[in-house]
């Protein structure tokens, strides 16, 4: 007989319950870390106090009564003060939830308080999920579900197990806990069958959740209330902004995290090295590039939220490529685009500022969660049309240089500022610095007869000869403009320095130029079938105006190719549907593929997806049904043909033989009892087997357990052979007993 497993006593159940509550609190508290909410102090308190109280519940029991009485008024006062100061409902609510969670975690809890703790934790986990739309949410909600269910189970068992709480020294006895002993008791109680069943049921819950997620009907109510809109605009954590100082792009490159994932309907449209434009910076001032007010004014300023925003490309009859871009939170509010587009569509209405001339699109705020948008008809290009600029440049004269940067007056810097236009020719430098630039232009070879492209190529080559590439920037000591000092030195530099230097050289040569920042390249994730761009792909390059119509991309960073060809290469037919990008198959690609799956199938799942799913399921069922019917029909026809064909002796013999074999099989099965034969072959004693059969019959008929014949049968079934009575007599007696019992028992 197997030893009986010990039972968990009430105290151990209490201790397990306390431990689970602590774990749940920590999990929920740490979700605040993912939200852009100022709660560092509370998080620090939670990180220290909750584990401490969980480890030593005696501390929680020692909290004096007056502290409990003061706790809620104090928390409410802090909440009111917080709201009065910040006027941000959601962060204040999150901080309130965190405070209540900490309080509940460090004080002894009854059933009701445990339920409050679960609700508070659910609130924090769900809000974090909604605000971040991160894949981590799945992990958090799964762990939360497991912990919460285990806690609820322990509450139920605790409530059933105890009559009255045992007290010791004014505290519940269970607070004196020795966790090693608790773990040992839990291990002693654990049963692999129950654990397996628990695991299976938990997996079933996940499967059922997935099914419900797919089946819950979706309606578009059109209210579009989003929690993230209750958070005031935060600057992006590692992203681009309208003011880029030298080194900012390199800082972004240090982050190896995912920046965007791109699905494309026609991978052949993806160039070998896509340039994802996000920002155009035209104004050079104080050693950095900014977006000027003139350039900013070119953007439309819509006040209405829309899901669809039109671009400059006219709709074409041909099937235009559709790009679905998933932009990670914290990257930027400037949407990465590789060229002019027909339309941008969001899942929910957004305020989008669009600069159609410069092909820029900007969200109103930095999104705190992943932003998905679909771009239709976007064709990658290295040149951007700007007809208006050519008109404005007619009659332009070079202004007199200023003697010092401090004398800078934006309104006096040429026609761009006066006309509130972008500043593509502005050199906000001292006269001697401008003179040095012009010297270098002469050294490179000033553009003659409008050969601007030749000048740019020469300038790129000149820069590459003088400077190597390095991510670490070491400017030579001295005074004056950083970029000019770097140009004068042989120091290596990074993309921003090269791009900035080329812009300055072009402007010194009276060629309109501007800096562009965004991402360059990306890898093809074969697993998910999408393009993955990481923050390490952040890049800065230039665009040079050709004087007539187009801005041409020029990337002076060594090895980048310099000035791009004005005419984009035609789409290539691709093997396996993969674009001409480097293919990534590593672990990071698998993780990114998972993220893409999360974005595609979970986050973007909507009514349309649901209908598609239903349609595809219907199609699949129809297809399988048709195949099944066809197979059945084929077999029936085959059988019919076989039967209708002339009967030869051999065919008759086959038919008779098959019928005979079938008959023998059925007879043998019923007569020989194949199962019994198999058991006998495995060594089961036939007498014991027969005794078992009689015992089953007696149990069915309800023969009492103290019946003498039954005892004999039990001996035959399980007893030693030496104690056996003659088996035939016992079976005969059993038959008589059963008959007698049947006669006696009323039906």
């Amino acid at each position: 007989m197997a030893p009986q497993r010990p039972q968990l006593d009430s105290q151990t159940l209490h201790q397990v319950r306390w431990l689970l509550g602590g774990l749940l609190s920590l999990l929920a508290a740490w979700t605040v870390f993912y939200m852009e909410v100022d709660a560092v102090v509370l998080l620090a308190v939670a990180t220290v106090a909750v584990p401490l109280a969980t480890w030593r519940p005696g501390l929680a029991a020692s909290v004096p009564g007056w502290a409990h009485r003061l706790a809620f008024p104090a928390i409410f006062a802090i909440f009111a003060m917080d709201f009065y100061q910040t006027r941000e409902p959601l962060p204040v609510m999150i901080r309130l939830g965190l405070m209540l969670l900490i309080y509940r975690s460090v004080t002894l809890r009854s059933r009701r308080e445990d339920l409050q703790l679960i609700l508070l934790a659910l609130f924090l986990v769900v809000v974090a999920g909604v605000l971040t739309v991160s894949m981590v949410f799945v992990l958090q909600i799964l762990v939360f579900t497991g912990c919460a269910l285990a806690l609820m189970l322990s509450i139920t068992l605790t409530d059933a197990a105890e009559d009255k709480e045992e007290m010791a020294g004014g505290k519940p006895a269970w607070v004196r806990v020795e966790w090693g002993g608790v773990m040992r008791r839990l291990l002693a109680v654990a049963d692999w069958r129950v654990l397996t069943l628990g695991s299976v049921l938990f997996t079933a819950v996940l499967g059922l959740s997935a099914l419900l997620f797919l089946m819950i009907p979706r309606f578009d109510l059109g209210t579009n209330f989003f929690l993230d809109q209750m958070l005031k605009g935060k600057s992006s954590r590692s992203g681009f902004s309208e003011t880029v100082s030298f080194g900012d792009v390199v800082k972004i490159q240090q982050d190896r995290g995912l920046a965007l994932s791109v699905d494309i309907s026609d991978p052949s449209q993806v160039p070998p090295t896509p340039y994802w434009r996000m920002l155009v910076l035209d104004e050079y001032i104080f050693g950095g590039f900014n977006m000027s007010a003139g350039l900013r004014a070119e953007s439309s300023d819509p006040s209405e939220k829309k899901s669809r925003h039109n671009g400059t490309v006219a709709p074409t009859a041909a099937e235009a490529p559709v790009w679905t871009i998933y932009l990670e939170s914290g990257v930027s509010k400037y949407l990465p685009l590789v060229g002019p587009y027909e339309r941008i569509t969001f899942a929910s209405p957004q305020i989008l500022m669009v600069n159609r001339t410069q092909v820029l699109a900007t969200l109103q705020n930095d999104p705190s969660k992943m932003t998905a948008y679909r771009v239709e008809g976007m064709l990658p290009t290295a040149r951007f049309e700007d007809v208006e600029l050519a008109k404005r440049l007619v009659g332009w004269t070079r202004p007199e240089p200023k003697t010092a940067v401090n004398d800078y007056n934006p309104d006096e810097f040429g026609m761009e500022r006066e006309q509130k236009s972008p500043m593509y020719l502005n050199l906000n430098l001292k006269a001697e610095e401008i003179a040095r630039l012009r010297d270098w232009v002469q050294e490179i070879g000033a553009p003659k007869a409008g050969d601007r492209e030749g000048f740019v190529r020469r300038a790129c080559a000149w820069l590459e000869r003088r400077h190597g590439y390095s991510l670490s920037m070491e400017l030579p000591p001295g005074e004056g403009d950083n970029l000019v000092r770097w140009l004068a030195s042989p120091q290596p530099g990074h993309c921003e320095l090269f791009a900035g230097a080329l812009v300055l050289l072009c402007r010194a040569a009276d060629v309109p130029a501007r800096m562009v920042v965004g991402f360059k390249g990306g890898v093809w994730n074969a697993g998910s079938g999408s393009i993955t761009v990481t923050n390490a792909d952040a890049h800065a390059w230039c665009e040079i105006y050709d004087g007539e119509r187009y801005w041409l991309r020029a990337d002076p960073t060594p090895g980048a190719g310099g000035l791009s060809s004005a005419v984009p290469p035609p789409p290539a037919s691709l093997a396996g549907g993969a674009p001409r990008l480097e293919v990534d198959t590593g672990w990071s690609a698998k993780l990114n593929g998972l993220k893409v799956f999360w974005y595609r199938q979970i986050v973007s799942f909507d009514q349309k997806s649901q209908l598609e799913l239903v349609r595809s399921a219907g199609k699949m069922a129809q297809s399988y049904g048709k195949r099944l019917l066809a197979e059945l029909d084929r077999r029936l026809r085959s059988a019919g043909q076989w039967l209708s064909s002339p009967w030869s002796l051999g065919r008759v013999g086959w038919a008779v033989g098959a019928l005979f074999a079938g008959g023998v099989l059925v007879w043998g099965w019923r007569r020989i009892n194949v199962v019994a034969l198999w058991r006998a072959m495995r060594g089961v004693d036939p007498v014991r087997r027969e005794a078992g059969r009689w015992l089953r019959r007696m149990s069915t008929k309800g023969v009492p357990e103290d019946d003498a014949v039954r005892a004999e049968l039990l001996r035959l079934r399980y007893g030693s052979r030496s104690t056996w009575a003659p088996s035939a007599g016992v079976f005969r007696a059993a038959r008589e007993t059963l008959k007698a019992w049947s006669r006696r028992s009323p039906r």
């Binding site: 497993r5 659910l122 139920t156 129950v194 819950v205 819950i216 109510l221 579009n224 209330f225 799942f605």
Partner: protein, 391 residues
């Protein structure tokens, strides 16, 4: 006072019942039950699942999250909603698994004695192969006493294991009592749902009158013992009176080995009592004799107590209640039958007290023990008309 501390236990036990498939009744029984159910709708005995307060909160939270999910089209909220609903479904599933193949049986060790603690037990068995059962409760009640309780399965009932839950009750009055198992319930596993199930197990038990304190009067020598004489009653004397089949509890020294060998079954000897001073106890039920109900109850209790004591002493020859025929008391079973009768006696409208008393002396002969009111509260026991004891 001497009391019968160990009455022979006659377990009143219901059949095993479980939460599984119901036993299919015969056709005529089903028709009969159906027709009766039209007149008297039976209580709901099927499984019922209702949300608890916690479950209500969960449903409320799920409703709120669902509302938010539809308003925001946020799939994160739809995921949360799906998980909450799945947990609710899992809760129902586990609750069903928990009670599945669990059997229970109500047992009450009859007879009971009024004013004494009695034991009602619930036997549980878990016939599942792998999964234990947790956290069940059973609703028990005494119908006559109008007492209800809830017995909890506090620990784990392992697969294939059995468990025994006990309820100590103290019936206040004699009579027939019915122990009812009205239902079982469980909050397992998460407390979201309260699963209840009607049960229809009952155990009818007889509650014997309570033992009372009484005082024997030694004057007159009515209780005297005349040693040496033999009688045809069973007792602890030296003369062999009869042989009978062995019964559990008989001393091995009483085994008659020759008869056992001859009859091929265990036989034991029965001896005659040594004295002839046995009493015949007659309890008169006429309403004229017992005008006060409280006094009547005291008389019933005194009769039971005297019967026990005299049987212990081997001096109870016969008993009679009212106009019932006189029953000789030869075994414990005879005494128990008398106690059962005393448990349910009621006053009759017969007013022929004097005549009955006169007739009694002719019916029962000498050493007749009768009871009569003593004052307004007390009761006296008379032996042949002489006061012998008072309660």
């Amino acid at each position: 006072m001497v009391t019968l501390t160990q009455p022979s236990e006659r377990p009143a036990a219901a059949e095993w019942q479980d939460a599984g498939k119901r036993r299919r009744l015969p056709q005529d029984e089903r028709c009969r039950r159906f027709l009766w159910s039209l007149l008297y709708p039976p209580p709901v005995r099927s499984h019922r699942v209702a949300p608890t307060l916690t479950g209500g909160v969960l449903i409320g939270v799920a409703f709120g999250i669902g509302l938010a999910a539809y308003n925001t089209s946020s799939n994160i909220l739809f995921i949360t909603l799906s998980l909450l609903l799945s947990c609710l479904i899992l809760s129902g599933l586990l609750s069903w698994i928990n009670v599945r193949r669990v059997g229970w049986r109500l047992q009450a060790m009859a007879p009971w004695r009024a004013g004494q603690d009695q034991l009602v037990t619930m036997e549980l068995r878990n016939r599942k192969r792998f999964v234990p059962t947790y956290s069940l409760w059973f609703e028990l009640g005494l119908k006559k006493t109008k007492l209800q309780t809830r017995l909890h399965l506090r620990g784990r009932l392992d697969a294939g294991g059995t468990e025994r839950l006990e309820w100590m009750v103290r019936p206040e009055k004699r009579g027939l009592e019915r122990v009812e198992l009205t239902g079982l319930g469980s909050l397992f596993p998460f407390g979201f749902l309260r699963k209840t199930m009607g049960c229809d197990q009952i155990c009818d038990v007889v509650v014997w009158p309570a033992p009372v304190e009484y005082r024997r009067h030694s004057a007159g020598g009515v209780w005297r013992v005349q040693a040496g004489e033999r009688s045809r009653r069973l007792g602890q004397g030296g003369d062999l009176l009869a042989l009978r089949k062995y019964a559990a509890g008989d001393s091995q020294r009483l085994v008659h080995w020759k008869a056992t060998a001859r009859l091929r079954r265990l036989m034991v000897r029965q001896f005659a009592a040594e004295a002839q001073d046995g009493f015949t106890l007659w309890f008169d039920l006429s309403g004229a004799r017992w005008p006060r109900p409280a006094q009547f109850e005291l008389a019933v209790a005194l009769a039971a107590t005297l019967a026990e004591d005299l049987f212990r002493e081997g001096r109870l020859v016969a008993v009679a209640v009212g106009a019932d025929p006189v029953t000789p008391v030869r075994s414990l079973g005879d005494l128990e039958r008398f106690m059962d009768r005393l448990a349910v006696v009621k006053l009759t409208d017969d007013s022929t007290t004097g005549a009955a008393a006169g007739m009694a002396s002719t019916r029962f002969g000498s050493n007749l023990l009768t009871l009569t009111p003593d004052g307004i509260r007390g009761v006296s026991a008379l032996i042949d008309g002489t006061a012998a004891a008072t309660a």
